[in-house]
């Protein structure tokens, strides 16, 4: 079944106001273009699930798409703070944000339980942490094997999960390499799933290396080809990260008005990701160029 679709159609088909939407990717293969399209279409009252925040969280907040956030790390990686997010939490400016907070281990466990259709997943690290005291959703159960009670976190099943990857075939068999984060679990946990990719490849390429597939086709609702869809984050083997932009964002976002101006100019002022990229200038990606370093092929040889 051919599941390829344009980004505009994929987002409008599978997302609704009020949904919980997971955008995952740990500083690498992040569905940035999809986040921008959510802003363009003006969705509201979303709850965003994202383990490790970054500029797209500030942007979705600035565009008033979010009523809530489920996360375990809310800085801008090593580039500084996310000031739009801090204004919401520290000063309820412009309004309060519902923030459901875990550790990375807790988010991993929540996605894992969601993907596994279990009500919860045990976790060994929360004893004595104020995180557990603060969050009533972190509970505990008795250990029937005689140990102490153990903490549990509830399953996370986003209405829609979106991930980005290097490549897929038209059916939705998705391959990625480099840092893989929690993408497979987020994909399986989602009630619906959009995968954006750098390129659609012939299924013969996918099938020459089936162990490389991180999500099989039957889990995928839409496959969207969006080159440079992860920028300013990297895609292993395709382009490098744009640290300069990430650092600039943390400076810019100290000014709420500047955030609004940036969103108007770069997101709402562009029709799609191609226009967004074009506005960066034709030489913008020169410093994100990479050199080639190919894997040694392995032999999948079959019966002679």
């Amino acid at each position: 079944m051919d599941k390829t679709m344009g980004l505009r159609q994929a987002i409008s088909t599978y997302l609704s106001d009020g949904d919980t939407v997971a955008l995952e990717g740990f500083g690498h293969i992040v569905p940035v273009a999809a986040a921008h399209e959510i802003i363009r279409q003006g969705f509201t009252d979303l709850v965003l699930a994202r383990m490790s925040c970054d500029v797209i969280v500030d942007q979705l907040l600035g565009a008033n798409c979010l009523k809530g956030l489920i996360s375990s790390f809310i800085a801008n990686s090593s580039a500084g703070s996310l000031h739009e997010l801090r204004r919401r939490i520290e000063k309820s400016d412009p309004e309060p944000l519902w923030f459901d907070e875990y550790s990375h281990g807790g988010m991993v466990a929540r996605y894992q339980a969601g993907a596994s259709k279990l009500p919860f997943q045990p976790i060994a690290s929360y004893r004595g942490s104020d995180l557990a005291a603060k969050n009533p959703q972190i509970k505990s159960v008795p250990d029937p094997y005689g140990g102490p009670d153990i903490h549990v976190v509830p399953a996370l099943n986003p209405d829609l999960s979106i991930i980005h990857a290097q490549r897929a075939d038209r059916h939705g068999n998705v391959q990625a390499w480099g840092m893989l984060g929690i993408q497979t679990e987020a994909a399986f946990a989602g009630r619906r799933l959009i995968v954006t990719v750098e390129e659609i490849v012939d299924e013969a390429v996918i099938r020459s290396d089936p162990n490389r597939t991180i999500v099989p086709a039957h889990v995928v609702d839409a496959v969207v080809v969006i080159p440079r869809g992860s920028h300013p984050h990297s895609v292993q083997g395709y382009y490098d990260r744009d640290d300069e932009f990430s650092r600039q964002w943390s400076a810019l976002a100290r000014d709420a008005g500047a955030v609004q101006n940036w969103i108007e100019a770069h997101i709402r002022g562009t029709n799609d990701h191609d226009e967004f990229l074009a506005a960066l200038g034709s030489d913008h990606f020169e410093r994100m160029a990479i050199h080639d370093a190919y894997s040694t092929p392995v032999n999948y040889g079959g019966r002679a």
Binding site: F73, E90, H104, S125, M179, E244, A251
Partner: protein, 294 residues
Amino acid sequence: MTLSAHDTIGAQAREETAGSEAARGGAAGSETAASKSAGSQVTSSELLTVHSARALAGRNVVFAGHGLPTLAVSLAQHTVAPDVEIVYESGVTGARPPVMPRSISDSILVPGAASVMPMTHLFNYVLQGQRIDVGFLGAAQVDRYGNLNSTLIGEDWEHPDSRLPGSGGAIEAMAGAAEIFLVMRRHTPRTFVESLDFVTSPGPKKAAEAKAGAMPAGAGVTHVITDLGIMTRFARDEELTLTAVHPGVDPAEVVRQTGWNLKVSPGIETTQPPTPSELALLRETLDPTRIYLR
């Protein structure tokens, strides 16, 4: 994507994200009082890196963030712990980046690495699975038992004065690693506090006082390495004790810069300054462009 503003993130923002991505040590540095008084050009980053590396003797598997901890592990590989393996929160093990990584999720860590694990394996099997000998953490606040705060500053949890990055994987590193090395670039009464505003990552003493949950597997913070000296603790109920000061630092000054009545070891020592060979390795081999050794 032209921004009119330039990169104005200075030390304050960096401080705020200490502990970020679970395991960052400070990156920027300047000449320390200690190094100044010693008359050398040793920067604070170099000093902390060298002492972190030395403390890794005998350890095999280290969970670390980019920057200072990465440099410390590299230095240890060249000196006291040739077989030590570094594990990053992004799932990368045995990385050999040709240039220093810019964060723990920098793709530069991947080419030539020994493995890249999915996050389920990293958090479930490696951290919770108790495979880490030493985890490097940073924090905004530490107390006398090595409990750490990287969540917020202020009394109102819902509306803190400063909202910090949060746990990341720090809680799991603290709970799962055999021991934690804490690197604090600035030893002040605001960072070494009597009472944390928020206990993000509890040590085993704090955990034992709680009612439910699995006990941490390790000892919690065993080494705190700062710009003034080194504090250690070993048993669960033991407080941090000042066991060494850097050359030229008065132990009484360290006590003054600590928000609780810091214990001072009767046999307190003065740290051995970075050796010429350690400094040469750092400056010429490991970080020749001085990305972290600013």
